[in-house]
Chain length 215, copies 2
């Protein structure tokens, strides 16, 4: 697969084409950074969107979780969208308010993962995605757990990435005499607290792979 | 409307029923805290999920933005989902890894807002939702901007809220001799930086309603 996204007509960005990105590495980066995906399905002709955990392995997106993913039939059309809000754009006009963000929209068909090796690879990636290091620290699934687990794959063939960065779009108002403050409030997600499971002795050492509180 | 959610069969939580919440105030709180919503539609029989900005006024959810919302037809079935990731649950087994989260799933039909007063109320709420105070600091839409703006309303009649809190679910492993660390990594979104628009003098005072950097 090339490093350039080749959106079909369906996956092209229709509005704000200047915000469309074409680098496959950027698609991967957005998917890898996001902690939650939103899985869209059609149920009885109507849309249903549920949050789910995801992980990428190469150009395959794997889904799992209490997400409706478990009830997906193979071959069913799906849309998986992830969004990172990087900042809030405080403008001079309501109309020009915006958010700085990166989002990825993946359209495809759900494939039930039936090969045990692929399922294990996917589950390992799902754990490593949200809790890096836990794929080695924690115990891999038993045969019984595997049987109770449904993994879905979606190819990253038909995907688009969109992003907005930078200051408010109405900066030309300053030259016209508008002195109101405007700018960008940058947001980030940080680790606020690490709590040891109350079933453990309080002084149980926290392993090095667990992220520390960020101040 | 009562303070209790009355989910229909369609909006009931099917998995982890213990995670379902029934308080309308909790629905409101999740919608109000989330900075982005994911709007699901059916296009040519297939699901499409796009990020969009949202705001709640009473028991109505308003949508607007570069989201496909603008192209929604009135009466079209939609699903609007918001998710807050509060923490990552580091367990002893891959199988018991999870996230602490709150999510709201709203199903309904898109209503095009045509009344100018309602549209103005909705746009004010949309600005105030992500940038509180800006609804007064920034200029309201001109007639031309209003004409270029599409606002969609979805009633919060058919909505469900789901949440997970607390430690890993596999604490009983400790009594069985598993001494491995497990716990919760709590996450929060914070203001990392406030940048004044480069079109303004650098010393332009930042108004008090703009959130300060959180350390």
């Amino acid at each position: 697969m090339t490093s350039t996204l080749s959106p079909t007509d369906r996956s092209s960005v229709r509005r704000h084409r200047d915000r469309q990105r074409s680098d496959r590495a950027e698609l991967h980066a957005v998917l890898d950074e996001a902690l939650v995906a939103h899985l869209g399905r059609v149920v009885d002709g109507e849309p249903v969107v549920l949050p789910t955990m995801h992980a990428r392995v190469g150009d395959t997106l794997y889904l799992h979780g209490s997400s409706g993913a478990a009830s997906l039939r193979g071959g069913e059309p799906v849309c998986v969208t992830v969004t990172l809000i990087d900042g809030l754009v405080y403008a001079r006009r309501w109309f020009t308010h915006s958010a700085n963000y990166r989002s990825a929209v993946v359209r495809g068909h759900a494939r039930k993962v039936t090969d045990p090796d692929e399922a294990m690879t996917a589950l390992r990636a799902l754990v490593a995605h949200v809790a890096p290091g836990q794929e080695d620290h924690a115990a891999a699934p038993t045969r019984k757990e595997m049987a109770a687990t449904s993994v879905i794959a979606v190819d990253l063939t038909e995907a688009s990435v969109k992003a907005r960065t930078g200051p408010p779009g109405d900066g030309d108002a300053v030259a016209e005499g508008d002195a109101r403050w405007a700018g960008v409030v940058r947001l980030e997600t940080r680790v606020a607290e690490v709590t040891t499971c109350p079933a453990l002795p309080e002084d149980t050492p926290v392993p090095a792979h667990v992220p520390a509180v960020e101040k």
